[in-house]
């Protein structure tokens, strides 16, 4: 499954299988970064379209998971650079009538605070943190982002500190 795939007519079937397997991973990454279900779904679709094209004419993909992360990271980076801002939590979500409305509002505020803090970071830091959150190794992060493996630790440490400072700022009255 992981070694040099180059399908032709059966390409679509293979991509369907991979789509089912990796949809949650890529969707979650998109959702964390873009903060919006529609955009996360669009991102996921785009990633798998690229995979299909790659498998039908491009160089072989030697490591599917890494390739998907790399493509999703690159696409997200472009989207974020095009000022693809997080959208406010939709009213429908806030209006949802659950048993514990108060708790939900507290959660929504906390989510909003994290999103706003994350939005203040450069796209590179956002992508690094989201990949880090997925417990990718430095080697995998390096392959997904193109950073040198030896620099990943430094970049992550800086990104964590920046986000911590932003969260701290947001918490100050």
């Amino acid at each position: 499954m992981e070694e040099g795939k180059r399908p032709d007519s059966e390409g679509a079937d293979l991509v369907e299988v991979l789509y089912k397997e990796y949809f949650p991973t890529i969707y979650r990454l998109g959702f964390r970064l873009l903060g919006n279900s529609e955009q996360a779904l669009d991102l996921t679709q785009e990633v798998f379209l690229k995979l299909y094209r790659r498998l039908n004419g491009g160089p072989p993909v030697t490591e599917i998971r890494g390739w998907l992360y790399r493509t999703a990271a690159n696409l997200s980076y472009d989207w974020l650079r095009r000022k693809c801002r997080f959208q406010k939590i939709s009213a429908s979500r806030l209006e949802r009538t659950e048993k514990d409305v108060e708790q939900e509002l507290i959660d929504a505020e906390a989510i909003q605070a994290v999103r706003e803090a994350l939005e203040q970071l450069p796209p590179r830091d956002r992508i690094l943190l989201v990949l880090y959150l997925d417990e990718l190794s430095y080697d995998e992060i390096s392959k997904a982002t193109g950073f040198r493996k030896s620099s990943v630790g430094t970049f992550i440490s800086r990104a964590i500190n920046r986000l911590a400072k932003q969260l701290e700022k947001g918490e100050k009255p």
């Binding site: 979650r28 906390a110 994290v114």
Partner: protein, 168 residues
């Protein structure tokens, strides 16, 4: 062992340090209060950030859309310029020939413009936009674009004659 840098502490916390080096660092951390405190602080920040970032996870996983590959069946939706222009693949000899033609055309144009032109004839068609012909003593050339002459003064250059075939 020297005190640990922030990068080393981060790598240590993330389990990215090889075993032998890791044991050396562990030993240092038992001996150095300052590094131990920094490691604890860094670890706490890391845990806090991970906890906060996990709040961003989707509350529920949507049903995956049906993967629409129809746009991709016939190739790329946004193929590179040359593929869009010339077809599926541009082979190197074709690209090289195209570049050579452009180069020769550029040289010819330069030669014409630098030789003493006997006339620059302009014929009218639409108002304001006129096809431009350049004629030297050797070559007559029609340029594949129209020149907007509305706001331009006539050019005074020895040996250059501008004629407007039909004046309005």
């Amino acid at each position: 062992m020297k005190c640990l840098s922030e990068k080393m502490l981060q790598e240590y916390l993330d389990g990215e340090i090889p075993k032998i080096r890791r044991n050396q660092m562990k030993l240092h951390l038992t001996e150095c209060d300052r590094c131990r405190q920094r490691a604890a602080s860094l670890g706490a920040t890391k845990d806090l950030i991970i906890h906060r970032l996990k709040l961003l996870d989707p509350a529920e996983m949507p049903t995956a859309r049906v993967l629409n590959l129809t746009g991709a069946q016939s190739g790329q939706a946004h193929p590179p310029f040359f593929r869009r222009f010339f077809g599926r693949k541009v082979r190197m000899p074709v690209a090289a020939a195209a570049m050579a033609v452009l180069f020769i055309a550029g040289l010819s144009l330069g030669w014409i413009l630098h030789s003493q032109p006997s006339a620059l004839a302009v014929s009218s068609s639409e108002e304001g936009f006129l096809p431009l012909y350049i004629a030297s003593n050797k070559v007559v050339m029609a340029l594949p674009f129209k020149l907007d002459l509305t706001d331009y003064e006539p050019i005074n250059h020895p040996g250059l004659i501008i004629t407007q075939e039909e004046s309005r």
